[in-house]
Symmetry: C2
Subunit: 565 residues, 2 copies
Amino acid sequence: MPFRAPLDEYRLLLNHVVDYGQVCGTDRFAEATMDTVEAVLTEAGKMCEEVIAPLNRNGDLDPAVLENGKVRTSKGFAEGYQAIADGGWISMAADPEYGGMGLPMTVTTTVNDMLAASNLALQLNPLMTQGQIEALEHHASDELKALYLPKLTTGEWAGTMNLTEPQAGSDVGALSSKAERNDDGTYAITGQKIYITWGDNDFTENVCHLVLARLPDGVPGTKGISLFLVPRNIPDADGNPGVANSLKVVSLEHKLGLHGSPTAVMQYDGAKGWLIGKEHDGMRAMFTMMNNARLGVGVQGIGIAEGAYQHALAYANERKQGKTPEGTIIGHADVRRMLATMKAQTFAARAIALAQAVAIDMGNATGDAEWKARAAFLTPITKAFGTDTGVEVANMGIQVHGGMGFVEETGAAQYARDVRVTTIYEGTNGIQAMDLVGRKLMDGGEAAYRLLDEIEAFAETAKGDLPDLAEPLWQATETLRETTEALVAMTDMQDRFAGAVPFLRGFALVLGGYYHLRAALADEKAAKLARFYIARLLPDHAGQLAHAREGAADLMALTPDDLAV
Amino acid sequence: MPFRAPLDEYRLLLNHVVDYGQVCGTDRFAEATMDTVEAVLTEAGKMCEEVIAPLNRNGDLDPAVLENGKVRTSKGFAEGYQAIADGGWISMAADPEYGGMGLPMTVTTTVNDMLAASNLALQLNPLMTQGQIEALEHHASDELKALYLPKLTTGEWAGTMNLTEPQAGSDVGALSSKAERNDDGTYAITGQKIYITWGDNDFTENVCHLVLARLPDGVPGTKGISLFLVPRNIPDADGNPGVANSLKVVSLEHKLGLHGSPTAVMQYDGAKGWLIGKEHDGMRAMFTMMNNARLGVGVQGIGIAEGAYQHALAYANERKQGKTPEGTIIGHADVRRMLATMKAQTFAARAIALAQAVAIDMGNATGDAEWKARAAFLTPITKAFGTDTGVEVANMGIQVHGGMGFVEETGAAQYARDVRVTTIYEGTNGIQAMDLVGRKLMDGGEAAYRLLDEIEAFAETAKGDLPDLAEPLWQATETLRETTEALVAMTDMQDRFAGAVPFLRGFALVLGGYYHLRAALADEKAAKLARFYIARLLPDHAGQLAHAREGAADLMALTPDDLAV
């Protein structure tokens, strides 16, 4: 069941749904015309289809392992990585000054989407490096930039992120890794970090770790944390990887999925590190990356949804069972319902992600505060809805396969196993939802209402052409507006948090309806899918938003004792 | 994280929700008083806690394997099986004439629930035997009953079900296994069967296969299928396992979960079999077992939901992260929401299953057609909602664990992997839903409306005491009634099938609200959980039922070509 790059859908989205034209209409991205984008997507799509996707099962069957302190990666992953690096896909969005392509995040997002659909375990590696490049571009000294960025953009070196410790997961501020000042301006880093994605590999010359640690005079909590670049091999005078640093991979996790991606426990024993940004200001650098990183993870969910959908669709088109006009199970209404749900929900999640990417690009290109607020507002929705969609669609993909879905050889289960962590890492989806109802409504709902205004205005004008789609969308948006107002009015944060996850879900469903409607006006085939989404999936918003309005009292009245068995 | 038998919840359900008193009020089950039930549950619960649950990880880590044509089972499973057999739990519901306890299905259901929660892979073995005992009791000759039932009830021999073939999954009628008449009244069975749960083991003296096959004069389709009992070892004159039959385990599947349960490809090469029931009438015997078998699988989902819930609850009570009054993550509103959702939905699914079990018992004890119709109507709901609940709750259990949920050592992922097949086998949940809107509405909705009348009447009387719960439940029931009427009015089955799954879900949600309300009137703690369910989970019925009313036209308008990438 080969993967096929969904280029038609990207064209529809970029041209008619998220208005990519405004991005290449800016000076900054003037060169990234739709023709250029077309060439980029075709090239990246070809690589994903021919090189990356065929390696996906290898990662599962031949997991990365730790042998004598070294990580040995899955068969073929080195070649796959090289193809990604050679194509320039690691540094698509990076600054051309250091070898990047300088493409808009919108384009990067579609390429990352295809890479994730093809092989999530492998895609994680360049995704980590992309984040590191971004952090260094914004916060590293010119000297560090000159030394590291050319190596990272070519993929000769890889990057990782080291945040989590056993007692400091969602609560990053609880970390206990220490940094001490050396005499030469560098720092000595000591501590243990867990869940380090691609903590090492056997196909790049060097691995560069961005590590959060606390200086002796760092206050407790997030405000006392600094960020350090800690290379596995310390660059020598020529900038080549030199002597080994005082760090090691202690072990790799045995995980539900992503077996091809080594998840390491890292030990730092006075390892030499270089400060990124200012002392005690590490969280700010982290926050700089956050919109992009969360977009990146949301897109992982969307990519897996695409892969799982295509896999299930191929099966449904082949499997004969019962009498149908098509001769295969795709003729059964319930199988059709599952496939349509998978496709329609993936489309919705992808449109939201691309709308966020456009907002990031427009914010970067214009400096406009409204675009920046839009990007920030959409971030938790992209991340949580994108990854929930990945989990749900992959799960439905198993169901389409019937008994074969439970047999590992089929490959359907791998999508579900691989994607499962995406709702957890880079901030759990619960934390995304809390971010949405907390920080992202701190403007009194301004960014939210601006989005709702846009949807209602569009639905209003679409009522003439597609009243059966525009009317229920308008109604749903009104319910969402009322719920948003109700949340904004809640002064006790616990009340908002109690309904945060269903609120985010309800918001995403309405946004999805909006983007489906936009597509429907442009394309007849898309209109059929939009009709399915708006009539059958959008109604779920009502239950979600009812849940969201309930507040915390009755929930927290269920004490731990009440919940005990 | 040890398993704890949820005896308080069973007491609440039996005494106040599903009115078990009417079951032991019948002559047939007069001996199964609540005192007896209490003793049974305590004893079975103790075994599950102390013997069965501790073996659960073994099944995952040390899978059943095929060695030289023999199945070697997971470490400890033989001892676990023996404990189940020694306790009489295999034959709880079986006829006392052949060594069974003759307990009501309601009681059997709670014990199976605990066994599934403790160790689903192992529980599958006695569950298969229970089904075989039931089939033989109803359809075997007295001679076969006398020979096989005493061995099966004691657990000395185990039973399996052989239905599926590569080209005949959901469409059983497409099977091609052949049966030929021998001169001595026996039959020679030839063919390949797949997905045979516990196709062999190394801890029972014999394994008895119930095999569907077609006689030379059997018509194509389900009406030409006969059922045969085909023992691995042919009983000798003394009834002991004698010479090997002409059958073998060809291979075991490599599955997403249930590694402790060997899923076999079976090959029959003229194996000697004995007819069960009449020639060409094999499907009738299958249908006899169906209500109980589907109840059994629904309860597997509920059991796993219980196990996953307890596992997540223990973690939430221990894990420190962020500041909460409790000092652990259970103080976070979103974690509380997840745990409450898990508990409330599991309660709803369990209540539905027990209501079905009571209906089965009452139908058997009284012969009353309304009870039989009630049991038949609830069957697909129990199976699909119970197993969906298992999948959803286990998935939420992973989420509660955060990053630890993705690490296999934690055990949270195993619940999600193990339970995943339950929405597929014993008729996929899509097929359950088609059964509900098809066969189960063939009475013009009579059984459905009788249930809705009961709910509305109860809600009406509860409006005085608990108006905030009774009123929304009454409203939801009205919406469900209107939707049921709309489905009954659809003359093209495709229209019903298009909305079958959301209709079943909506029906289950309303039923769950009803049983929560019953519990709420009896118990203050239960009222808190009911309030959570009715205010926050029940509203989902509206979206589901809106989807259900949409019919097939717009769905089937999405052609395979429209769905292509």
